[in-house]
């Protein structure tokens, strides 16, 4: 088991390098393939009135004139050893792991991301609890009462939940609950407040519900399908033949099996969300990683984009690893093979 985890961790690190290399190539290399020169790239980061000489100086300062592998090498070196960056007014040291400096604001990327991580974490974890509880419970009841009014109604709502985009449900709920009824603050500027968890929750409740609705719908459908299949299994008949109460049969014998595939998807969804819930954060103006990514991409601020991609990849790879390990905990057949 330890060897397995160790092997997976090494593979994860290698995978991260591949991810950074590809991201680097896309943002730093592809424009060159399109014929853009180092000066063209640098012209985005200087004022409109800059002279050719100023642009060229900037290109040299940002390292665009160096070959691509040297630029990537500097980035990797920064990750492990830290780097010194010329911000224009001073030379700043960026300790390892250094994700670089913003080309535009000259802020180091990593502290920015760490500042924003709690927002995304709060958003994702709260929503995950809601959608997991709501989706699974709905799915189980739907499966047990297949064809009933509850089943048909909840599956219709689920279909709507999957189909409606967040910028629709989000804006709709904002206009109703925040502006018309004034129950919740309209978008959180500072939602993480450890001193007062109620303020924290109140500011996040709408984003949570909006985000959870999207996922809960999907999880309800998955759980329903899984339960319908599992409840037909022979071991369910055995459990009933023992004289177990129906609730025990459903929860202990049925749901336990039906949840295993859902666990996989849950891990991936959560990993993906931790890398930034872009639509939700944008709709509710939450200063999380997703919003940071949007700003970075809009401004073509390459170190920020690279940083966000790396952090997102780390979460997804970690989530995958955790899911695989959990699988072994849940299913003894995996553990022994």
């Amino acid at each position: 088991m330890v060897v397995y985890i160790f092997r997976r961790l090494i593979a994860a690190v290698l995978l991260l390098f591949v991810v950074t290399a590809i991201t680097f190539l896309i943002f730093f290399g592809v424009p060159r393939l399109g014929g853009a020169t180092a000066d063209d790239l640098a012209s985005r980061y200087v004022g409109k009135t800059a002279s050719g000489q100023q642009i060229h100086d900037t290109a040299e300062k940002l390292g665009f004139t160096d070959p691509l592998y040297e630029q990537y090498g500097r980035f990797v070196k920064g990750l492990f050893a830290g780097a010194d960056y010329d911000t224009g007014v001073s030379i700043d040291h960026c300790p390892a792991p250094c994700l670089g400096y913003s080309f535009i604001t000259h802020n180091p990327v990593l502290p920015d991301l760490l500042d924003r991580l709690p927002v995304t974490l709060s958003l994702a974890s709260g929503a995950a609890v809601l959608w997991l509880l709501g989706g699974v419970a709905t799915g189980v009841v739907s499966a047990l009462k297949r064809g009933s009014f509850f089943d048909r109604a909840s599956m219709s709502v689920a279909l709507a939940g999957v189909s409606l985009p967040i910028f629709f449900t989000g804006l709709l709920s904002l206009s109703i609950f925040s502006y018309a009824l004034e129950w919740t603050p309209p978008g959180g500027t500072n939602p993480v407040d450890a001193d007062n968890p109620f303020d924290w929750a109140a500011a996040l409740i709408l984003p949570w519900i909006t985000l959870a609705l999207l996922y809960a719908a999907q999880y309800a459908r998955l759980t329903r399908a899984g339960m319908l299949e599992t409840m037909e299994e022979d071991f369910i008949r055995t459990a009933r033949a023992k004289g177990l109460r129906e609730r025990t049969v459903v929860v202990k014998h049925g749901l336990r099996s039906a949840l295993t595939p859902i666990l996989t998807i849950f891990g991936l969804d959560l990993g993906l969300l931790l890398g930034g819930a872009i639509l939700t954060e944008t709709t509710y103006s939450l200063p999380g990683i997703g919003q940071y990514a949007v700003i970075a991409i809009t401004n073509q601020d390459l170190p920020k984009v690279l940083g966000v991609t790396l952090v997102g990849a780390i979460f997804i790879i970690l989530a995958n690893l955790v899911v695989d390990l959990l699988y072994a905990v849940v299913d003894p057949r995996v553990r022994n093979s």
């Binding site: 022979d234 055995t238 033949a241 177990l244 014998h253 099996s257 003894p332």
Partner: protein
């Protein structure tokens, strides 16, 4: 005659008389119908039998003859929403049809237990074998986990699982097929049920293991003095175990009698067909098996008259009544019952001249 029968039967041994002797399970006119869009599926249509403690009843028939539905309805495990069950199932005098689901649930596992065909899919893959036995025991006994565990290990030991203490913590997939079925039996017997239903208990097992499992069921039956229903399509299995045999066809009983009568003087052409389909080692390999022609009938459109008549080679011998009249189950002497329009003389003649020599 008896010597001839002995050698092809692998003779059912006479069993020592057990204490008990009064009817423990009685099924009267059991009907299990499933209404579907295409019509009513009459899985079981008027079945009656009785069983004493310490005795074994073999229910024999092809797939789809209603054997498993019968056993599931006794256990109350049939599809609750869709099945229409009528008649009486008296367990120790108590009618299970009409009893509440909760009452039947409390009887399940404790008073009646069941062994299933495929022990791999019938055990939960995520729980240890020991856990599953402990669970079965603790539903009906208010004891601590430690006591239940001791009992589970004891049960595993009694069904012949080596190192039961260690194996109790293994998962079903770590057991071999035969060991799994032993564990399944241990689970079924953990609450000392008076009625044990075994639904094709050896079908999924290696031939070498089948005999061991049958021996085990027989030994445990004597030890626990339980009533056993063994459901199978394999006449070899009932020859090993059953005191009485009930042959089912299209949801009905077409022949019923003690094992000796059924094997020595089978009366129904379908039973002859089942006997003829049984491979035997003592026969020349050049001889063909004598399979029953055709396929089992649809339970929605059961053939008119005797449901077996489209497949029966002798249905022309009685002036067409096979096609029009449903034959009654009639006693032909000594509790041996048969539902067939052939006259007693015809049956005897066909059996002695045409069928028996070929078996």
């Amino acid at each position: 005659m008896s010597s001839q029968t002995e050698d092809y039967l692998d003779a059912p041994e006479p069993r020592p008389e057990q204490v008990g002797g009064e009817t423990f399970l009685e099924v009267r006119d059991l009907k299990v119908h499933f209404p579907t869009d295409d019509g009513v599926v009459k899985s079981v249509d008027g079945l009656s039998f009785q069983l004493e403690r310490g005795k074994t009843l073999g229910i024999v028939g092809e797939s789809g003859s209603g054997k498993s539905v019968t056993s599931l309805s006794i256990m109350g495990l049939h599809k609750a929403g869709t099945a229409k069950v009528s008649g009486e199932i008296l367990l120790n005098g108590r009618n299970l049809i009409g009893a509440s689901r909760e009452e039947v649930r409390q009887l399940r596992g404790k008073n009646m237990a069941m062994i299933f065909q495929d022990p791999l899919s019938a055990m939960h893959p995520y729980y240890t074998v020991g856990h599953q036995i402990i669970e079965a025991y603790r539903i009906h006994h208010n004891v601590s986990k430690a006591v239940a565990r001791k009992h589970a290990i004891d049960m595993l030991d009694r069904v012949g699982i080596p190192n039961p203490k260690g194996r109790a913590d293994d998962y079903p997939h770590q057991f071999s097929g035969g060991m799994r079925q032993r564990a399944m039996i241990a689970m079924a017997l953990s609450c000392d049920p008076e009625l044990l239903i075994a639904d094709e208990p050896t079908t999924a097992l290696d031939v070498t293991v089948q005999a061991q499992i049958l021996d085990l069921i027989r030994d445990l039956q004597q030890e626990f003095n339980s009533a056993v229903i063994i459901i199978t399509h394999d006449l070899g299995v009932v020859a090993e175990l059953a005191d009485d045999i009930l042959v089912m066809y299209a949801g009905r009983c077409i022949e019923y009698g003690n094992a000796d009568d059924i094997f020595r003087e089978p009366q129904h052409p379908y039973t002859w067909g089942l006997l003829g389909s049984m491979p035997r080692l003592d026969r020349d390999r050049t001889d063909r098996l004598l399979p029953i022609k055709g396929t089992p009938p649809s339970l929605i459109n059961v053939p008119s008259g005797c449901p077996f008549h489209p497949r029966c080679s002798f249905s022309q011998l009685n002036g067409g009544s096979s096609e029009t009249e449903v034959p009654e189950l009639r006693d032909v002497g000594g509790g041996h019952q048969v539902a067939c329009h052939l006259s007693a003389d015809d049956r005897l003649r066909v059996w002695t001249t045409e069928i028996k020599p070929k078996l």
